[in-house]
């Protein structure tokens, strides 16, 4: 994250701590799409992704305004961490029902092994393959290649070392290619 952006976020966080709704709205506008995407890949139903996304912003507000000792060093990482926690809570409390047909706009058009090498891979195929990855691998691929985060930033979110994150990223990418019939 650039220095300017980091300083801007420090200012926003301080303002939110003091009940500044405009600052809160700025954070919402900045992060809502990326967080929704992140959650949507994990929970795979639109309604649930929307619920979790809105809940996580509310949690941010509550944490900052109701807790004098609240310290958020990296806002983006914090938001993704909260998203992961909420997703984990959801799976703990409800039985996981997995169905590709329930996916937002994902529909597998081909079984991975049947894709011919000449055929151009569509975004749907890639999204479908992403949903088949292990949770953590899916997260790192989405964070790295969809959201554009660096490995050291992802490491903070998934609570691993940067080196371990790079390894996971490499393995996840290999698996994704395998699913897409490229290996």
């Amino acid at each position: 994250m650039s220095l300017t952006r980091r300083i801007e976020e420090e200012i926003l966080l301080l303002k939110i701590k003091h009940g500044d709704q405009q600052a809160f709205a700025t954070v919402y506008d900045t992060y809502v799409d990326s967080l929704f995407r992140f959650v949507a890949f994990r929970v795979r139903t639109q309604e649930l992704a929307q619920d979790i996304t809105s809940e996580l912003f509310l949690k941010l507000w509550q944490y900052l305004t109701q807790n004098n000792e609240a310290r958020v060093k990296n806002l983006r990482a914090y938001l993704y961490q909260v998203a992961r926690n909420l997703i984990a809570d959801h799976y703990r409390s409800e039985q996981k029902t997995l169905s590709l047909e329930e996916a937002i706009d994902i529909g597998a058009t081909h079984a991975p092994g049947q894709l011919s090498p000449e055929m151009r891979l569509s975004l749907r195929d890639i999204e479908s393959a992403l949903t088949k990855l292990k949770d953590e691998w899916q997260e790192v691929v989405v964070l790295a290649y969809v959201e554009g985060l660096k490995p050291h930033e992802i490491a903070i979110i998934i609570n691993k070392s940067p080196a371990a994150t790079r390894v996971i990223l490499h393995r996840a990418l290999q698996e994704l290619k395998k699913l897409l019939g490229q290996l």
Partner: protein
């Protein structure tokens, strides 16, 4: 498919897969409603310091460190050549970006509309001085400076209207008069003419707003403004408009008969009249204003002055338009000043953003809110 293509397609997901727009907006509203019930907490001293420091860091973060350090050390140890070079620097000079950055830092440390407005005025004056010190060949930089002058003046105008303070208005009034005099003596190249015309209009408008605040304050018995001082100020405004009208009459008389005479819309009478008649109407309003000043009815006098000023501006615009032959649009004034502009686009929540002066396309049509009937209370 290569890795590169795969990465590109993954990146595309960012564009194609977004939260539904309706849900996004509804959730935003809902969250803001839920958070509205919480009362805001005041900042303690350390938080104020932390916030100010963060703002300073935000402003200086993009600036190259070395020139900044050189200037800061020079200013701290009072090394005269560096201090002099820094304060006299012009666009294109090594220290100029640092000068503009330091101005931004200074601006960010001012927390009230009044102090910000005064600082914007100071910056406008600096830009005008820099403009006058630039060589005639530096036309892009000239255009950039005039643009920045207009922006600073717009912010100053907004701050004056937000503060609505007669002491502030007096300070503004003094500065605006100086700026008017400097502008009158400024030599402008054809490329900068449009920006210059906007600058003149904005400076007039600032002066008129300050006058309106002063008259209003006197009416409300604020700050012990002497009637004589208000009368004198109104009279000097009248005299300014009178001079303009006299110049215009010369132009009207020299207008070729072969061309159709310029016409002006008189809103007070809901009619369109020739420029000559509009000029007479404007003079009549000034005469009425003088009578009202003698009777110490300053608010009504100000209304008459504003009416006259409005007619004068429109008449001048009509004459200029009629005089100008149909030519290609002048080249765009895309002047870029070395170093970022001082004025930041940030608008604090309780302020309204000023009108963008650069949206003015013709010199004859100043910024939308030239109606100077501001702050006039009956």
């Amino acid at each position: 498919m290569s890795d590169h293509k795969l990465f590109n397609q993954l990146k595309e997901i960012q564009v194609t897969k977004r939260a539904p727009a309706l849900w996004r907006e509804q959730t935003r509203e809902r969250l803001l409603t839920l958070t509205e019930t919480q009362t805001s907490r005041t900042y303690n001293f350390s938080e104020v310091v932390s916030l100010s420091w963060s703002r300073v860091r935000l402003v200086i973060s993009p600036v190259p460190i070395m020139p900044m350090l050189v200037v800061m050390l020079g200013l701290i140890f009072g090394y005269a050549p560096i201090s002099q070079a820094y304060s006299a620097s012009l666009p294109g000079n090594l220290f100029y970006p640092v000068k503009r950055t330091v101005e931004r830092v200074e601006l960010s440390l001012r927390s009230t509309p009044a102090t910000q407005g005064l600082f914007h005025l100071k910056l406008a004056e600096r830009r005008l001085n820099e403009f006058n010190n630039l060589p005639p060949s530096a036309t892009p930089a000239q255009a950039g400076l005039l643009r920045d002058y207009n922006i600073d003046l717009s912010f100053a105008q907004a701050s004056l209207q937000a503060a609505d303070d007669s002491k502030l208005a007096m300070q503004y009034d003094e500065v605006a008069t100086e700026l008017e005099n400097k502008l009158a003596n400024t030599k402008v190249s054809p490329n900068s003419q449009t920006s210059y015309n906007v600058a003149v209009v904005l400076t007039d408008k600032l002066s008129a707003t300050a006058l309106a605040v002063l008259v209003d304050a006197h009416q409300n018995g604020q700050n012990g403004l002497l009637p004589a001082a208000v009368a004198q100020r109104l009279e000097s405004q009248i005299s300014k408009i009178q001079n303009k009208l006299n110049n215009m009459e010369n132009r009207i008389s020299e207008f070729p008969e072969s061309k159709s005479a310029p016409r002006v819309v008189l809103e007070t009478k809901q009619t369109v009249v020739p420029a000559k008649e509009a000029s007479r109407e404007a003079k009549k309003s000034l005469t009425e204003a003088m009578v009202l000043i003698q009777k110490k009815e300053f608010t009504l006098a100000l209304q008459k002055v504003q009416e006259s000023e409005d007619i004068t501006t429109k008449t001048e615009a009509a004459i200029t338009k009629a005089e100008t032959p149909a030519v290609a649009t002048p080249t765009e004034e895309q002047g870029k000043v070395d170093g970022a502009t001082t004025t930041t686009p940030e608008v604090k929540p309780n302020e309204t953003a000023p009108v963008n002066p650069e949206k003015v396309e013709k010199p004859a049509e100043p910024t939308p809110s030239t109606n100077t009937n501001t702050n006039v209370k009956q």
